[in-house]
């Protein structure tokens, strides 16, 4: 028993045919082939599935896709410059900082962390280490021990503020 919904994802209107019980995470991954959003626990703790809803981080495993209708959804696929042939390596400054600072290992939790940090830096352009750690507390990473993630977020903030990356 599927129904058609229209979602605004990464600035485009997308049509999905889903069961009403489908989570936003499953809808993005299965119906819209946006597999950059990862599912880690399906109970709202690990943060791997974080996407932005009207700019604010939400757990896409705890939200039904139908609840996202009428809102703007941003996934990790919407963070990078859209034209791969464009400047640089096709990474946003935040993504680039994660590569520069070794802020990821397996990369599974990374999309959720990128979106959380993306919204955070918009609201806190010059964060302290403690503020960065508090922001990250809702996203579990099992590989990095977080230290290089903190450094990456800090480097992105500094770069945005016009400083040389540390």
């Amino acid at each position: 028993m599927t129904r058609e919904i229209r979602l605004e994802v990464n600035g485009q209107t997308r049509v999905a045919h889903i069961e009403p019980r489908t989570s936003l995470a499953d809808c993005l991954r299965e119906a819209l082939d946006l597999t950059g959003t990862h599912v880690g626990c399906e109970h709202g703790v690990c943060g791997a599935c974080t996407v932005l809803l009207d700019g604010e981080p939400v757990r896409s495993c705890l939200l039904l896709a139908v609840q996202a209708v009428g809102h703007a959804v941003t996934t990790v696929e919407g963070l990078a410059p859209s034209d791969p042939a464009g400047a640089g390596s096709g990474l946003s400054p935040l993504q680039q900082a994660f590569q520069d600072k070794h802020g990821l290992q397996c990369g599974y939790c990374t999309p959720g962390i990128l979106l959380t940090a993306h919204a955070f830096l918009r609201d806190h352009p010059t964060p302290t280490h403690d503020e960065i750690r508090e922001m990250l507390a809702g996203n579990l990473c099992r590989c990095t021990g977080y230290h290089f993630i903190v450094e990456a977020v800090e480097a992105a903030a500094r770069a945005a503020a016009g400083h040389q990356p540390a």
Binding site: E19, R21, T22, R29, E30, D33, L34, T35, G36, T37, H38, V39, G40, C41, E42, H43, V45, C46, A48, T75, V76, E77, L79, A80, S89, G90, L91, Q95, F98, Q99, D100, H102, L104, Q105, C106, G107, Y108, C109, T110, P111, L114, I132, R133, E134, L136, A137, G138, N139, L140, C141, R142, C143, T144, G145, Y146, H147, F148, I149, V150
Partner: protein, 794 residues
């Protein structure tokens, strides 16, 4: 051959795709006509299976098939067993071991919560899960064995009745005259230490996709595994197909830590379903399944005693070890013997007496997890060393300095065999230098002064804890590599080692690019695909850099020789005069002669006019033999603050001074240490798989099983010491696991140090607030009793 890339913190080449959300994990794979599996798992820890009724489930719309043991009987061969006793070990240690192979689906008895009893395959995962709820299973519950000590005693309920008891493995070993040393010791300290059950918990759960191709009778399966060739071998046995008809691919894998290095029922069940249904089938584990059905780890009890002189010279260690294996003994000798082989670690101890037994219980089967016996044994040893220091009224750093081995002692033999049957000989390192470097980085003396001042002036409880380990890494016997040039003069490196985030595409390319004389970007590394190389072992046991790296180096050197011969023919020069750099070949001293490797490779191809200048063979395969391990070592120092009111432990600083030989990529090494420490901190403070007395798992979500967040971890300070290993051509040692080994011990020592005014003794991990409060309450009660008793006498 110039080492331009080896040793450089090259940025990781795998990062851009992962950062853009373009990684390809198992659950990202979507095939036409694909079905989805869900499992019916036992809700009982121990029960007999009396019957299964699947008709209602099978009749649900969208359900393709429901499989019980009976439908799959022809494929239900025993799952692979690991950890056989090698001859060299059997010759010196009398091991009694029993292993019974698990079947992929329970036949007549379930032995832990989460064991599979049926599989539903349907058009979607949701439909499969709905139908799985309708499968009716008749269980006859049996008494469960939960506690390992009681479970190993006579009269306990039997998990594998044919054994007659629950002891799967038993051995004793040692050297020197331990009894005499103990009676001669000025000081003896003994204690029982308990290390809890905790696990790898990768952020990506397990997953399997399988596709059967009836045209040529071949199976392709994508599996988030660390060991593609082991999975392939298991399928060869169960399906009766030759290896070349089974392709196992581990695509991007979201963390492994050992959890994904064991053999699992689902590795076989999903391919079996794909063959039976003639359609692709996918299964993605959910987190609840992961907690109950993916391998558990750790879980030991040590009754340990140490004897020493009054000056603190260690004379003897005696340990009685019990290992909880969970429901099956799939890993044989591995965990128990690792525990014993790493007990003494960096210390010089002239006598050792160990007895070890491993017990099956009605819990999820255990498998090696990052450290694999070492965190447990280091916990016992470093705790008893701190207890000895207290008894001697000696600073714990000084006691260690008096007993740690130094570079002049290398090579140093501990007179028991290693797990691989070879002599246990430390090849390199300076454990006292590790200690001194860690103390210096910590500012130990200053910190001790601050600690005293904080305690006396402000009533703040801070503690410092030290732990050191020596780790046999990179167990052999081999990992292979094929290096081959393509028609563009670029290289492909194929190896059986698989990456789960360790950055193989970068560090292996650094080794290959240096050896071939080509830019890093010209190297493509292929791991985790049985079609790329026929034989392999896999990534676990801190083994890939040493085993695969050595093979890559040797194979690349051979390919470079072939390129040199071809360039010599092309340039009409002697091979000895040919240089290759940055993808160009030229005659030494004549840079104008430079030609691209693309031209060199193409010059070997026949044309209509003439045959190739040389044979067009620019490929080499090497299976580097690594007979035994190489020894990584480290000293960790934890600085903590304990709130006696809440029992909360806050890590203020964490320092690691370590030696893993030469560093291929220091940035990646540092990341491995950080991640290992983070997991060790989890084991020290937070993480525990908890069962109740009926064997019900109480930790089924991330709200119950707590892994560290960014708030629990301080920055991790690292000092690199480099004592190259003489046991491989790169001089490297494994570093994947090491970070996870010492934190539980270092934190326990630090907490006990912080609470020294209360006279508590920490004997159990983890040290959550409840555990710390319980220690303080017990200490207060004891103080009150003692005061009462003392008052009575006065």
């Amino acid at each position: 051959m110039g080492a331009k890339l080896f040793g450089a913190s090259v940025k990781r080449r795998e990062d851009p795709r992962l950062l853009r959300g373009e990684g390809r994990f198992v659950d990202d794979i979507k095939l036409p006509g694909m079905l989805h599996a869900a499992f019916v798992r036992s809700p009982h820890a121990h029960a007999l299976l009396r019957g299964i009724r699947a008709e209602a489930a099978a009749a649900r719309p969208g359900v393709a098939r429901v499989f019980t043991f009976a439908e799959l009987a022809r494929w239900m061969k025993p799952l692979p067993l690991f950890g056989a006793i090698p001859p060299g070990l059997a010759a010196r240690v009398d091991v009694t071991m029993r292993q019974v192979a698990q079947l992929a689906m329970a036949r007549d008895r379930v032995r832990h919560v989460g064991e599979i009893v049926a599989m539903v395959v349907a058009d979607s995962r949701a439909l499969a899960e709905d139908a799985a709820e309708l499968v009716e299973v008749d269980y006859e519950p049996l008494p469960a064995v939960v506690d390992m000590i009681a479970g190993g005693a006579p009269g306990a309920p039997l998990i594998h009745p044919e054994w007659g008891d629950n002891v799967a493995l038993r051995f004793k070993t040692g050297f020197g005259d331990a009894a005499a040393a103990l009676s001669a010791a000025d000081v003896r300290v003994q204690e029982r230490f308990y290390v809890q059950r905790y696990v790898g918990m990768p952020m990506e759960t397990r997953g399997v996709v399988a596709q059967w191709d009836p045209r040529d009778g071949s199976l392709t399966t994508w599996n988030g595994t660390q060991v593609v060739h082991f999975v392939q071998q298991g399928l060869v046995t169960a399906l009766g197909l030759p290896a070349n008809k089974i392709r196992v691919i581990a695509p991007d894998v979201g963390g492994g830590f050992g959890t994904k290095a064991t053999g699992y029922p689902e590795d076989l069940l999903i391919p079996a379903a794909a063959i039976a249904c003639r359609r692709p089938v996918k299964w993605t584990e959910d987190r609840r399944e992961h907690m109950m059905a993916a391998a558990h780890a750790r879980h030991q009890v040590h009754d340990i005693e140490i004897g020493a002189t009054r000056e603190g010279k260690m004379l003897v260690v005696r340990d009685r070890i019990c290992v909880d294996l969970g429901a099956y003994n799939s890993w044989g000798i591995v965990l128990p013997y690792n525990t014993v082989a790493h007990l003494l670690g960096p210390h010089r101890v002239p006598a050792l007496d160990v007895e070890c037994r491993a017990v099956v219980t009605n819990k999820t089967p255990n498998a090696p997890y990052r450290g694999a016996g070492r965190p447990e044994t280091v916990y016992a040893m470093d705790r008893i060393v701190d207890c000895l220091a207290r008894e001697l009224r000696m600073d714990p750093a000084e006691l260690r300095r008096r007993n740690y081995l130094a570079e002049a002692d290398m090579p140093y033999e501990i007179d028991i065999p290693y797990r691989d049957g070879n002599r246990l000989v430390y090849d390199s390192g300076d454990f006292r230098a590790n200690l001194d470097a860690a103390l210096e980085a910590t500012g130990y003396d200053r910190l001790r002064a601050e600690q005293a001042a904080a305690r006396s002036e402000r009533g703040i409880l801070r503690g410092i804890g030290i732990s050191g380990y020596v780790e046999g890494t990179a167990i052999g016997p081999y990992e292979g590599a094929t290096v081959r040039m393509d028609a563009s003069g670029h290289a492909v490196v194929a190896t059986g080692a698989c990456s789960q985030g360790q950055g193989h595409e970068t560090s292996f390319a650094q080794v290959a690019a240096d050896a071939l004389g080509i830019p890093l970007d010209w190297v493509t590394v292929v791991g985790g695909d049985t079609a790329a190389i026929p034989f392999g072992v896999g990534t676990f046991a801190s083994r890939s850099a040493v085993n695969a790296g050595s093979s890559i180096l040797d194979a690349a050197v051979k390919v470079r020789e072939k390129l040199t011969a071809a360039a010599a023919a092309l340039l009409e020069a002697a091979p000895a005069d040919i240089e290759i750099e940055d993808g160009q070949a030229f005659v030494r001293g004549a840079p104008a002669s430079s030609v691209s490797l693309e031209r060199v490779v193409r010059s070997a191809l026949p044309t209509f006019a003439k045959p190739g200048a040389v044979t067009a063979d620019f490929e080499a395969t090497v299976y580097h033999h690594q007979p035994t391990v190489t020894y990584t070592s480290a000293v960790h120092i934890a600085h903590v603050e304990v709130d006696p009111g809440t029992g909360a432990v806050r890590l203020l600083r964490y320092v690691v001074a370590h030696d893993c030989g030469r560093l291929i990529n220091p940035m990646i090494v540092e990341g491995q240490i950080h991640g290992g420490v983070a997991q060790g901190v989890g084991g020290g403070l937070l993480e525990e798989m908890v069962y109740d007395e009926q064997g019900q798992l109480l930790t089924g979500t991330f709200m119950d099983y707590l892994v560290p967040t960014a708030m629990e971890l301080p920055p991790i300070e690292t000092v690199h010491l480099e004592y190259p290993s003489p046991r491989n051509p790169l001089g490297i040692k494994g570093i994947g696991e090491g970070g996870a080994i010492s934190p539980p011990a270092a934190i326990a020592n630090a907490v006990e140090d912080a609470l020294s005014p209360f006279g508590v003794r920490v004997t159990r991990a983890p040290l959550g607030p409840d555990a710390v409060r319980a220690l303080l309450v017990a200490a207060e009660e004891k103080k009150a009793r003692d005061a009462g008793a003392g008052g009575g006498r006065a």
